[in-house]
């Protein structure tokens, strides 16, 4: 195993060569790029398309691109979509069936589309989110073949965070701005008087091979220290934090909290938070027939617990109020996820905070629930 290969340094040309090598291998390279006024994910033909010189200004319900003097490529935080758009796409055909005669139906299982992806610039929170979706979608009895197939071939190049956003709170979910194992390569971007460069750490054999084929130099101690220091400093610059309490017991104690009414009055039940969340995995299936009725297809598409149909049983939805739907989302993320999958469902990427049109902030809601429980505690004491 060469995964312990020594850290290396790439300059911008080196990063270009890395992407070129991936493209030459026939990989579909996905990475951050500026599109429609945001740093979103898209297929990259070259590293020149990275958002060099762009940063972001974030708040609850607000996202703005801003110019950066230093020309950094990875100085933005989690954007409008996550990697699940590629690994667990919003719509996927599962199978189709055709009536071939009066008595017979031919069934076709559809091979999932699985381009050989290389993801460039995966944030540490998103790396954790992918690990969470791995447990959800490839573990257990009901594995998602399409996800599994795409995931197995995907190459992950992480980009550690030195510039956390104002809606980031990964540290308080047990993570942090440095990349945990699971990546093939991990980059740390540095721009200083020594120049614009990327420290590269190797996490897998495949990553080591890729690095070998890319012009690089062995990392000097100063670059390594600078990179470490920048990532460490980022730990202390989180824009937000969840309260440092046992969230599972807080959620358990908060089922009847008044705060749910308060947030329900502001919540549009629009579902944006679940769609942008890199761990939310829920889907629904729909059967589609054609006009002749001789051809039918089954499609899987993203669903959300904010959708009334999501909890529709015979006669109506179980969670008809906004209160019950918001509570489902928060309780699942922070509490029942542990029961189901053994971890939290929130990696603190801040997307649900930024991309909620109403600016509802999960850290603020949790803090309010905590305060309500504390107030009740003093009453009963």
């Amino acid at each position: 195993m060469t995964a312990t290969a020594a850290p290396a340094v790439l300059d911008r040309d080196g990063l270009n060569a890395l992407v070129a090598a991936l493209v030459a291998q026939g990989r579909t390279v996905i990475g951050p790029t500026v599109r429609d006024g945001a740093v979103g994910l898209a297929e990259l033909a070259s590293a020149d398309e990275l958002p060099y010189g762009w940063g972001v200004e974030l708040d609850a319900g607000r996202y703005r691109l801003v110019r950066r003097e230093d020309g950094a490529a990875f100085a933005h935080s989690a954007g409008p979509q996550s990697w699940k758009s590629y690994l667990h796409p919003s719509r996927e055909r599962l199978w189709s069936a055709d009536r071939t005669s009066e008595a017979e139906i031919a069934y076709t299982a559809h091979e999932p589309e699985a381009p050989s992806y290389a993801f460039l610039g995966v944030r540490p929170c998103d790396l954790r989110a992918i690990a969470i979706q791995d447990r959800v979608l490839t573990g257990g009895r009901y594995a998602d073949d399409g996800y599994g197939k795409r995931r197995r071939t995907a190459l992950l190049i992480a980009a550690e965070c030195t510039e956390p956003g104002a809606t980031c709170f990964c540290v308080s979910t047990g993570g942090g701005p440095s990349a945990d194992p699971g990546y093939d390569l991990a980059l740390t971007e540095i721009v200083d008087e020594e120049g614009h460069r990327f420290l590269v750490r190797v996490g897998s054999d495949e990553g080591a091979e890729l690095l070998e084929r890319t012009p690089h130099r062995t990392a000097d101690p100063v670059t390594q220290q600078t990179a470490r220091a920048a990532v460490d400093a980022a730990r202390d610059r989180m824009g937000r934090a969840l309260p440092p309490v046992d969230l599972r017991s807080l959620m358990g104690a908060s089922l009847d909290a008044e705060r749910w009414d308060d947030v329900a009055a502001r919540c549009l039940t629009c579902g944006n938070c679940t769609m942008v969340c890199p761990t939310c995995f829920c889907t629904t299936t729909e059967e589609i027939t054609d006009l002749t009725g001789d051809h039918t297809e089954r499609w899987q598409r993203w669903d959300s617990c904010f959708d009334l149909d999501f909890s529709y049983l015979h006669g109506g939805p179980v969670r008809s109020s906004a209160r019950s739907r918001y509570r489902q989302w928060l309780t699942h993320k922070l509490s029942t996820w542990h029961d189901q999958f053994g971890t939290t469902g929130c990696v603190g990427c801040g997307r649900c905070v930024t991309w909620c049109p109403a600016g509802i902030d999960i850290t603020e809601e949790v803090a309010a629930l905590d305060a309500e429980r504390a107030a009740l505690g003093t009453e009963t004491d």
Binding site: G61, L65, S90, C270, V276, F306, D309, P357
Partner: protein
């Protein structure tokens, strides 16, 4: 014998029934599955009812149409209303909030020739409706889906959630969050495929309210995104004005009941 399809029009612009003619790729297949018995926009040859599936466009604005829609219902096994006029009263329901006589005087040189009701109402206010397909105009894909579903006797796959769902599934950057553009998407029924945000415009609600609307939460956001009170009113008073108004009233009553 093939099931019969009929298309009727009340007060409307014809745009929704044109959507049917616009289904160029599917028209041949459709003609193979149904007998088009009554569709004046396409052919003046009409066959008498009863019809298996009637599509009704337009709102009820005259006493004569109120009668006619009852006759259509009586002649139809399934009745599906298509478009904002038929499902919500349409833009012409603006009269519901005004003095219809005054409108008549302002618009027509000889108002005495115009006979009209004081309100424009959806078909469902007059007769039972089997399905309401929204939009101004309706979406082609959704129309074919509804017809297909009725032909095989299944529930149409027409979700009741908001336009935001479609925006996110399509990967559009939210115009409200990224650009501060006022958008009715969070309260609007999906169906268009989130067309406007994909072209950097806010949704203007042409599919009417979704199945889960919270207007009191949205209105302060529209104000935040620089609409004044009149703008907000104008924004909500278009093709589905009466439907949004109804939601607002229901929300008010619910709030009063809760307190």
């Amino acid at each position: 014998m093939a099931p019969t399809l009929a298309v009727f029009k009340l007060a409307s612009c014809d745009g929704c029934q044109l959507t049917l003619l616009d289904c160029e790729d599917e028209l041949l297949a459709l003609a193979g599955e149904v007998e088009i018995a009554h569709f004046l926009e396409a052919s003046s040859a009409v066959a008498p009812g009863p019809y298996d599936l009637s599509l009704v466009e337009g709102s009820v604005t005259t006493a004569a149409d109120a009668e006619r829609v009852r006759a259509i219902r009586a002649a139809s096994r399934h009745l599906v209303t298509i478009g904002a006029c038929a499902t919500a009263g349409g833009i012409q329901a603006l009269r519901n909030f005004a003095d219809v006589d005054e409108y008549r005087r302002v618009v027509y040189a000889h108002p005495e020739y115009v006979e009209t009701l004081a309100t424009s109402t959806p078909v469902s206010a007059h007769v039972d409706v089997d399905f309401e397909l929204r939009g101004c105009p309706i979406d082609k894909r959704q129309l074919i889906e509804v017809i297909t579903a009725f032909l095989v006797g299944r529930k149409p796959d027409i979700p009741d959630h908001s336009v935001c769902f479609e925006c996110k599934r399509r990967g559009t950057v939210c115009v409200t969050v990224a650009h501060g553009t006022p958008c009715l998407g969070p309260v609007t029924h999906a169906g268009c495929g989130a067309l406007c945000p994909a072209y950097h415009r806010g949704c203007f609600g042409c599919f009417g309210p979704s199945g889960s609307v919270n207007l009191p939460a949205l209105i302060p956001l529209l104000r935040r995104d620089s609409l004044d009170e009149d703008d907000v009113e104008r924004f909500l008073h278009t093709f589905n004005a009466a439907a949004f108004e109804k939601v607002e009233k229901v929300e008010k009553v619910e709030k009063e009941l809760a307190t």
